[in-house]
Subunit: 692 residues, 2 copies
């Protein structure tokens, strides 16, 4: 309905004017940087190709979805997932094309598990015969599958799972049974309402040889199980399944609970590539190579690390563009007749956003490095070489923990830096925050998995300390041995690195710190035999220091070896590297007394960090808009009034409120002594009461 | 529908057993501590009285509300707000009773503004005559009101508001007019769908004496304006109003946008207790006492500070109870046949939850102190004494910033410490998080308002430096003067405080640090004449240090002067004080090099902090459950499967999923090549598409 507000414009200078000026004054070449970041694996080409297909489909419109209920939102999520699959067929999308489409649509797909954990597990854990049977059914989508491992009572400790798969030697079947409520499967995606099959992980119970009534657990094993009727889509007899209900995010995912009561499955259900049960004797065959840790979990962690950059880049894009446009207060010491200042020109806003802008690039290079290490290790392992497996596993655990924390906290820091409008629905950060906050917990809790890094480093340090004069086996070993030698040499003093003047010295100082903390941990655990749990906080800090060191060194390496970025863009990238590293150093004060001060960095340099950080932010500031533009995040994905490319912030906020908000179609009865809610409806509130 | 899962129980030891043991082994007296904390103003008695009234009403059931859409959720919020008002009439509730009921129902009431900002502004800013007219209308709820100040383009900078109130001397009316889109009112609670009147803040434009066509702004002024028709409830001609749409939280609040087109209001609309316009001459009368800052804003900030403890206590209650029950992994160095460890026994879990448990008490005592200072100052001001006004304003600004940050970040830290179930809907922390995350921004952005603290302290330090040998005007002045004298005395070295052995020395060290930072700021700004904006980060740190000092000293004072807590409970409370203070000290490393190390605390003591913190956590751990019990937060408010008093965590999670989740009533069609979403419905997705 037209009204006088249709004619109104925002006060000047408006968003488009401001962003045009910002883009003009920066010497950073957006396209050059975008190519540098995102062209290698065809990302940019793919995005440009897939996006218009999605934009043509009204079902993918994000404009009003925040108003829907959970059941409606799930229906929408399923409708979109179906459409996406049909589009994939129609356009003959590759898997990466399809994943690009899922990324842009930005709903967690209720079909997610089918081609991921379900298919992967069949591929990796099924025997040849099982694979030949199941894989075509999955790939043709004749069956829908999920992966049911986590239970109500156990997540991290997989060995503690309670669901039983007891071998019945009489009928040659396994009997799935949930002995307790806590044995209920829980969290299993795509299973709550959709899947009809699942990989079910259960304790394998076999009769003890000689005493057939006594059962012994051989630990958790995977079984493939049909759980719903293919016609009625109802759970089979002896199975209870459902969706666990609303969550913090993942509104379009049907995470499941599932219990079994003496539910019989055939011998062929047990995935038997690595271990098996002889159907005649009931005798168990162990896997030959128990350390198959490089499998899907590490793969998933490596992907999470690689993805973190795009999550944070989204939030930083919104924050930079909006705070460049938003003006508030005139300069207290400046011209009283001048414009109000852009919020991004306040150091208290910069200190929250600019280090995160730098972090997007740090995450990017580390994500690439993580992927490369994963691919190399995988190739080596397939050739029977397990040399780098432990390193890769440690690296993926530490980086998963640190990078998801940086991204998750970074999104919220950006949101708060947006002021009031950051609390509104136009930020584009609400669903991002809600969904991404799963990441610090899933695939290994961020605090728990740092133990895996520490255990690896203590082992490495133990080896280095035991033979510090032999040839180094790898980079870490070389660093550790050098440290041990220097430590035991009477007159050697560890170098102090000139972090303010030398970019490589920054890398060295971070490595030195991680090494010193690794030595501390080794000393406590191995030499002093301290209790592991007593050391956990220290071990967590060690993992964090090690992972920060990787972020800093891969950033440095990437810029040092790059040959394509032109002078001006390169200069800004080096400043971003310095900002990321020195800001991190400044904010790691909790251990600075122990390491930075005593050894790696001088007291004088440490005292200069706050001023240097502020100076670097001021140097980067003119390029902030071009830097976020280089991430090439389309408006369609951002779904943000505050962050849109053209800067029409206030027009969009107003449009969402005035034209798109369904609540404004309802007239309410404000009188408290009348029970009627919607004016003129006569409904005394019983409709809403019935939904409780 | 009954099924086999009805008979299942969680694995042992279950939640009730575990919590019973936890409660038994602690010597903290829950009732004694609860009385100490919450009996003074009748809080406990009131809670016990109001709660059963609410529990009898099905409309207040929280069980399924997470499944509702925004429009449904708003209808429910309104239905509840109406019922609450009717209950208030029926039970003759006082205002505090009514507020207790709102707190327990835990929906932001769409009636919130009526008795708060709407009535308060009339009381404080209206002339006697205006008050006599409007107050009865408001108190009898014949009109519904809101407070419309913030605009789309301006929040913090109130002077930058764009809405105009132009005096028409011909008709003796004001003309409200929104010249731009950014002049739209925005965020104004209770106005989007409900209020029919509003206090509207607009630039007062008056003709320049002598040139009647030239208008001059006299700054923002409040007007009372009818904005909706009393019969049809539609906006009046020339007014556009609506709800701004979904937000991060506050789902039951109709935050508004509102614009005016040459909308005429009578001369009597301008609230004229302090300033007025002569209707005959158009001449403006200024307020006599412009610094009326003690008014509603400071009141609201003081309330936010006071409330923070209950917000954090809710999250900590959930976190402590659940992590005491949740078991995961056996002790790596312990008995392999023993039980898995309670998650709360891991130091990496303790380091996240226990300092926050200590923080609840720190926030409590500071909240009481803030209230006392507010009351005293208000009394003094009403007697014409403005001596402590600036102190109170500074204190409320700094504490609002720090305390809301501690509570908001603390809720999320607790949520993540819950592991996977912290991401589920049974945590009880989702809506709490969503709603509370408004607090770091509203009523003065947490980063912006710290300038007010810094400005105050620089002023105080300037005065102290100028006459350091005269008698001290107040406590701060005494501390500052002492610092200045010590600084200029050639052979004096600032004391090093023995923070590990002496509880009062901790207070001194925090005060010393805040004082030293205040002196730094004074030096930079006053002596070196540095640009204000260049100093903002430093000024923020100063405010934070000052507020931390207040938290530490009020905690110390409260325990020192208390005469009621018995020996054992008191001992634990002292440990909580130490934990809060030393943990804060350890984590303030970012300035430790500058202050703690050089002056206030010895290097040796600082190095001991991590071990001391871990030791304190271990001492407090056995009392954790009793300590959170002492906050007496009813299950009804917690609405948390994880945090319920009886510990039936898994039973409740399962109940919510299996029996209360409406999604499980729907059977879906999983085939992607069929457009049908709900199985058997035949609907090809057009219903859900129509809602986009």
């Amino acid at each position: 309905m037209p009204d006088f507000t249709d004619r109104l414009r925002p006060s000047q200078p408006d968003g488009p004017t401001t962003l045009a000026r910002e883009r003009e004054r920066s010497s950073v070449s957006v396209n050059e940087l975008a190519q540098h970041l995102l062209s290698a694996d065809g990302f940019l080409e793919r995005q440009a190709r897939v996006l218009p297909v999605l934009q043509r489909e009204p079902l993918f419109s994000k404009e009003k979805q925040q108003n829907l209920s959970r059941p409606e939102r799930f229906k929408l999520g399923l409708a979109r997932a179906k459409l996406l699959r049909r589009l994939a067929d129609k356009h003959a999308w590759s898997t990466v094309d399809y994943k690009m489409a899922e990324y842009l649509v930005d709903d967690v797909s209720p079909y997610l598990l089918q081609m991921e954990m379900f298919l992967t597990t069949i591929r990796e854990q099924a025997s040849e015969e099982q694979r030949a049977y199941w894989q075509p059914l999955i790939e043709s989508w004749k069956i829908y599958g999920a992966y049911a491992q986590t239970e109500l009572g156990h997540g991290s400790n997989v060995r503690g799972l309670e669901l039983e798969a007891r071998w019945d030697s009489r009928t040659k079947e396994f009997v799935l049974h949930s002995p307790t409520l806590t044995a209920s499967k829980w969290w299993n995606g795509s299973l709550g309402r959709l899947a009809n099959h699942a990989i079910v992980v259960a304790q394998l119970l076999l009769p003890e040889p000689g005493s057939p009534d006594k059962f012994v657990s051989h630990g958790p094993h995977p079984f493939i199980v049909q759980v719903r009727d293919m016609k009625t889509h109802q759970p089979l007899n002896g199975v209870v399944i459902g969706d666990i209900g609303p969550k913090y995010g993942y509104i379009t995912m049907d995470n499941a609970y599932m219990l079994f009561e003496n539910f019989r499955i055939p011998h062929s259900a047990m995935l038997s590539r690595y271990s098996s049960v002889n159907p005649d004797t009931g005798i168990y065959t162990k896997p030959e190579q128990p350390a198959l840790v490089y499998g899907s979990l590490t793969y998933v962690r490596a992907n999470i690390v690689h993805h973190a950059r795009l999550v944070l880049a989204r939030a930083v894009t919104v924050a930079v563009r909006y705070t460049a446009i938003r003006r508030q207060f005139k300069d207290r010491d400046g011209d009283k007749k001048g414009l109000e200042m852009a919020v991004l020109d306040y150091p208290t806003v910069q200190i929250r956003i600019m280090p995160l802008l730098a972090t997007t690039f740090a995450l990017h290079y580390t994500g690439l490095a993580m992927r490369a290490v994963y691919e190399n290790t995988r190739n080596e392992v397939e050739q029977g070489n397990f040399r780098t497996l432990a390193h890769m596993h440690s690296m993926s655990s530490g980086l998963k923990s640190l990078c998801t924390m940086l991204a998750a906290d970074g999104v919220e820091t950006c949101r708060r830096a947006l002021g009031g409008h950051g609390f509104g629905g136009g930020s584009g950060l609400i669903q991002l925050n809600n969904d991404y906050l799963s990441k610090p917990t899933v695939e290994g809790d961020n605090w728990m998995i740092t133990q895996q890094v520490a255990a690896y480093l203590i082992k490495k340090m133990t080896a280095a300390a035991e033979s510090s004069n032999t040839a180094a086996a790898d980079e870490t070993d070389a660093r550790f041995k050098e440290f041990v030698r220097a430590r035991s040499s009477a007159n050697s003093r560890p170098a102090q690195y000139n972090v303010l003047e030398n970019d490589q010295a920054i890398v060295k100082s971070f490595e030195h710190r991680a090494t010193a903390l690794a030595y501390d941990a080794y000393e406590q655990r191995i030499l002093k035999k301290k209790n592991w749990n007593e050391l956990l906080i220290q071990l967590h800090k060690l993992s964090r220091a090690q992972s920060q060191s990787i972020l800093v060194s891969t950033f440095f390496e990437a810029l040092s070896t790059d040959k394509n970025l032109s002078g001006s863009t390169k200069t800004v990238m080096w400043n971003l590297y310095r900002l990321f590293a020195l800001y991190t150093m400044e904010n790691e004060g909790f251990e600075s007394r122990k390491v930075f001060r005593c050894n790696a960095v001088s007291q004088a340099d440490l005292s200069c960090l706050p001023a240097r950080v502020q100076d670097l932010m001021a140097r980067i500031r003119p390029h902030a808009v071009n830097l976020v533009d280089s991430w090439k995040i389309p408006d369609y994905l951002l779904d943000s009034a505050l962050g849109r490319y053209d800067g029409r912030v206030y027009e969009d906020l107003y449009n969402r409120a005035h034209r798109l908000n369904p609540l404004n179609k309802i007239t309410f009865n404000p009188n408290y002594w009348e029970e009627e809610i919607v004016k003129g409806s006569g409904d005394n509130g019983s409709t809403i009461l019935s939904k409780l």
